[in-house]
Symmetry: D2
Subunit: 452 residues, 4 copies
């Protein structure tokens, strides 16, 4: 579904020749987690090198730029840029010279006490040159009195709250860490004699790395040459993994939180079919977000699955405004139903969420135009009633249709014959009744208060 966006992906490569190139290809696989900016910092053991810019990974980098990113370790980032006048300034990695030398950091997540920490730092004389939370961290590390970077990182982490999957790069070491709640994923793998860390395992598949395990909530892993990675459980883990990663963000071919995204999505579809069965002719996904859940729904309900809506992948950016309105142009440029499949059918259409409701309304409308006899919308997640403070770019509460309308009101608004969302219990069943997920956007139980 359009309307929610992950803010970032992170990638790290340690002790691998041409580390920046592997980071590049890793980021390429993680492009779905942020398309506005990309950056890589590398270390050649003596000096850090950095390049960042606006655009897709393939637009920011070329052979020449990669060749300047020398060394056997590197970290990278893709970003969904919220806005800002000159967002290149807000691309990551953040690099700094400080008293221990040079450091770079990439961050997926959102600090819930960023403003407080920043105000405190500013009061102490710090200057902030970007609008990224992450800048706090470098300041905390630079101001620490501890002798070793390792200790400073731990001290700094003690002062921040919220969601963070971080990778730090110094001249000789790499550090990967996940907040005690483990909001965002962070996976660790083996590549030749070296190590890789990434937001999702799909990055490993492309570069031929082998998935080893997740960095654990509250764990810091230190990568150092000629040593095995060293694990420190910095914080007692109190896991609240973002369940929306499964529902929407992650690529279906990834493992995150140790589980297959595709399989979990199918299970959500199955649970949805159990909870909200309906007599219909076909199950059709909104591509690509609803595909796996629709397969699950179809399997459970025995109602045939059809790819009844086609997605046009050439979309990119077009700035042409038709002065004579073509109705629903924006949605139609992405999605087009197949009349032969839809016509005279009772259609169950599956999507993963409804954000503002405008797109869903258009999809229902187009399906009816194409001759659907009935349109039953099924959502493979509970109603999204609140914003996320942990690294997802959600609209404000007022814009979320489910925070303002009942399911029946929403049904009327979007024009569907029936509408149903997977229940929170159903969602829990899909993940094996594992209670360690954050569902704040569905149930309003925010594990960490937002102090910003």
């Amino acid at each position: 579904m359009f309307g929610l966006d992950e803010k970032c992906s992170v990638m790290g490569v340690f002790n691998v020749p041409e580390a920046a190139k592997f980071t590049y290809f890793g980021l390429f696989s993680l492009q779905h987690r942020g398309q506005e900016a990309a950056g890589i910092a590398s270390s050649d053991g003596e000096k850090l090198h950095i390049t960042k810019g606006r655009g897709l990974v393939t637009q920011v980098f070329d052979e020449k730029k990669l060749s300047l990113l020398k060394g056997n370790s590197a970290i990278g980032h893709t970003r969904y840029s919220t806005a800002g006048e000159d967002s290149v300034l807000d691309a990551q990695p953040i690099f700094a010279r400080y008293d221990l030398g040079q450091i770079a950091v990439v961050h997926n997540g959102n600090l819930t006490n960023a403003r407080i920490v920043r105000d405190e730092l500013i009061k102490e004389g710090a200057i902030f040159q970007t609008f990224m939370d992450t800048e706090n961290l470098i300041h905390l590390i630079a101001r620490s009195k501890k002798e070793h970077l390792y200790d400073r990182i731990i001290e700094a982490l003690g002062k921040i709250q919220g969601a963070y999957s971080l990778i730090f790069l110094s001249r000789k070491k790499m550090f990967a860490v996940r907040d005690p709640h483990g909001f965002r994923p962070l996976c660790m793998g083996k590549l030749g004699d070296g190590w890789v860390v990434a937001s999702e395992t799909c990055a490993f598949d492309l570069i031929g790395a082998e998935y080893v395990r997740d960095i654990k909530p509250g764990e810091l892993v230190v990568f150092e040459e000629k040593k095995e990675p060293k694990s420190i459980q910095v914080f007692e883990p109190t896991p609240h993994k973002c369940i929306f990663e499964f529902i929407y963000f992650a690529r279906p071919d990834s493992y995150i939180f140790g589980k297959s995204v595709y399989e979990l999505r199918k299970r959500m579809g199955r649970e949805l079919a159990k909870e909200y069965p309906i007599d219909a002719d076909i199950v059709v996904p909104v591509p690509d977000s609803g595909v796996a859940a629709a397969l699950g729904y179809s399997e459970e309900s025995k109602i045939p699955y059809e790819m009844g809506i086609i997605r046009n992948h050439y979309v990119g950016r077009t700035f042409i405004e038709p002065t004579q309105a073509i109705r629903d142009l924006k949605v139609k440029m992405k999605l087009n139903p197949i009349k032969e499949v839809i016509k005279n059918k009772r259609v169950i259409v599956i999507d993963d969420s409804i954000v503002r409701g405008t797109t869903s309304k258009k999809i229902v409308n187009i399906l009816k135009e194409f001759g659907a006899k009935e349109v039953h919308m099924r959502i493979s997640a509970p109603p999204t009633i609140g914003p996320c403070y942990y690294g997802v770019d959600t609209p404000s509460k007022e814009e979320l249709i489910a925070s303002k309308m009942s399911v029946e009101e929403t049904r009327k608004y979007i024009g569907a014959d029936t509408l149903a969302y997977l229940s929170i219990d159903g969602l829990l069943r899909s993940v094996g009744n594992d209670q360690s997920y954050c569902m704040a956007c569905f149930d309003g139980n925010y594990p960490v208060p937002n102090l910003n």
Copy 2:
């Protein structure tokens, strides 16, 4: 499957305000039929306007360029450019001033006597400024002694052979014509008070036009203001519609030759399942080309369908060469299997064709790497044994694996446990035993000899 490419799409809009904008959006929907160049010519009744360039439709045009393409009629083209040093010169529409005024033309197809006609024209003093067959047509029209464009077009068509779906634009009229074999599709629709013509109906869906019927093989339709379109059956139809349009080129949400592409692909999958059943755990498509056939195979065989391979749609162009080989990088950048789905499974993988065999080999290999117990490749079309002379960019006969190897040899080469292709009879059954298709690339029966 990668390796075959349609050379073009055409689009025409007549008697619609802002015709160029509608043409633009139509071409946007037809982008899959050619990504190398795009162009639009419009008429404001007094004068033709033209813009063409290299790249995607969204790259060639912007608001300003579209605003210069004034008038209520327009024709457009997207092109798969075979090569050439400066292919912008070989973009369409072709525009010319000639004795009756101004004319522009767009062409999907390939003329089989282009060389002979060109040599004849050159002998008579014509000059050829492009490397496009289509230039012949303008010359033939310009040299005709007939008084009316209408008669000249007919005369010119009498001299050319091969595959052509053409749209001509003069200052006051538009002409759409399809060769007597009807190799390439050409659809006609209604938009407000005006008319549209396009290679596929998906172009109509986006702009809100209504599909009326196909231009018939051998038919010329003349569009003129304040008149109904006038149909002339210029040639006795001897239909040989390109069946590969159904198998691969057309968008699944299009109707071509009056039939739903998606539905026919599913039927091919069903026939394949009947002809070559195998005991297995899952049916997995090579996305996106194998999706519909895989759904058909699954329905027929009752073996569950799984989206077990994910396609990365960010690919675009990357010029980064890893100096340390990442194995099968190019295929992996597009396709990635889901381990959870594949592991320990007997997998039936469905694709629409095997061209050189190299990609299929890599797909089988990756599936095995991901733990597939068995890989059974099923192709929803017969073996491609010969090139196409009617507008498809095929490799030479020597490069086509099926022209050199038996099915068993091919199976060994790609490393699959079993391999089977849909038979020609099966393919015919899929299209209701309609004999009016060209299957030359499968059976070597070329309805029109290639004289080039």
Copy 3:
């Protein structure tokens, strides 16, 4: 002076390894004769190669594109594009396949019977794909019944009128020709074992070629491997060399028509000083166009020369419109006087022409603002009273201030204290009373009627 533009430059290189590269550098030197489009065609003996595009020479070509332009002979062109919706189509060289093989041509000048010839050709069935006169030539050559290209070129030249300095390239030969009037310059030089032809000798200086002589009015020179260039006087010469080449177009470091541009400009300045002396403190050129004439004026008048107006060469294109008016911004972005030099001085300001008068008015105005006590404008050419039909892009007669206003009226309009133009006699004295120049834009005596 801003307002008049040469339409083109041409360059040819024969029998020199990497001919396209030498052509590139030659065009680089000729960039002042056209900045809108550039192109090069080369021959490797078997096949012509061509690349053309919009922009400066350095923008159209890169190493890769040049490397595709194989062979030991090449011709090139820079163009001042008058307009057109997609001017890339109207870039040169024009390339064509025709009955003798392949040909390319570049053209500096303007055919005065282009419309008539074109209409005739169109009546005979020719099609015109560009809006360039030059296309006529290829048609005439292609339609000739003569056996050899050489004879066909001569036959074609017999049918065209007007101004042309042309270079033809076939697979084995190069032909350079100048119209019988010799309106536009065309120089010939030696480079290693090969030959070069160019609009101006400055192109030879850069690439290290040696100027040999001019191609003569009415002369055709044929370049062929292993032979000395062969000269044919195709037409009786009736020289009317464009005197404006000396006044404005040519680079001061060039020789054209066998004379030093810089020296002639200085002489015009001297004659101007003799004809229109005035008591003043300093002589200041409008840079860069008035520099040489101002030096001559200063030498003759003994009034000190000062570079009292500075030209900003970074101008390029800026599209920023100040919503709050900065007065005379456009002129000020190019030109800025030096207060110390101008203040309280009686200033003689020298330019080479006044076209519409608006820029001159602004220059006078700015000089007064900077404190000039008196501003005496002196123009090193006679008043421009008529358009050019021989290859210069002049405004229409109505826009030429000298066609509407007397010198005194013009003086008032531009606000100068005095204004004087070099007389036609003075101009003639500058060129040694050589009567072989075209002065149509000054005296209205058009040596060839404009039939377009």
Copy 4:
């Protein structure tokens, strides 16, 4: 002369509607002081806005970007970027949030104790995100305990040494300051109801501002709404104004240090003629750097001035490498002599400096090739024997030809018949024996030690 580069220009506009646009045009006039990067920060009274990027001013900004730079005050910068992997990070203005709110700063010059200050700041926990000296300043201001920005700026200035012309922008105020030596120029002007500050007065001419006076060495000027600018002499002035600004950097139409650049250059030429007269036929400048001095030399010596070498202003960037060498291509692409002027003449060629000697050698060589009987090189400044630590990008001492060779040796190296440099005394006479200039690059007397 090629080889020395100013690192920056600065521009400020206060209390003028559309301040960013005026800053844009000001920077456009100052483009000669840095072509690698440009940036503007504006204040709308509530918030600062900033955009910066690589390239020329006209490349970095467009209408849309300027429109986002809201407000009535703005500061801007152009930069000659020394290197760096991603120099956009090192573009100015530097912006920061700090305890008093938001601040931006632009800097022309070089801090000689930057390393020491930075190390100290880093020791105290500061982080440095750029490689620009200027970042020190923001840190010092942020860490100051003073209540008002005004006092903090003064405190910070007390800790830095070297060359600085700075403009600070806060939400409500603008501050302009020059180091006590006044190394770099900084001019102040009036524009409507507001004020402007710029490196050179040519920026005022374009935007229609009126030059008022220079910011004095050691002076801080505070601009505040509804108040007259407030001047504070922060430091006792000990002027060491960079004399090279006159010799080379500044535009000849600028006033800097209260004097006309053009006039001073002419005087240097005159002094040079007095000190090193020679019997010759013509005086020729190396354009554009030697023009004014050559005019002075000519006036003094009564030897005629000739524009005997032409500069091609289209140069820009070309990356084409001729594989077959064209001799001295790089110099020839910029400069071309006029044979008619040079041939058989005894030529005095005037330039402003010799850096490495390679270009001078080529110029002498080309003049001889063009037939000069004698070439007498005269340099309108003393030999450059040492690097600059105050904001000029000079080669290292080893690369400066005058630090390794005597004048006679240099003469032999470049191949001139005679060579002479203006003496230090002569240079002093040119500036009226004003002792307040820094001549460190000529005499080795560095007024401030370089501690970096």
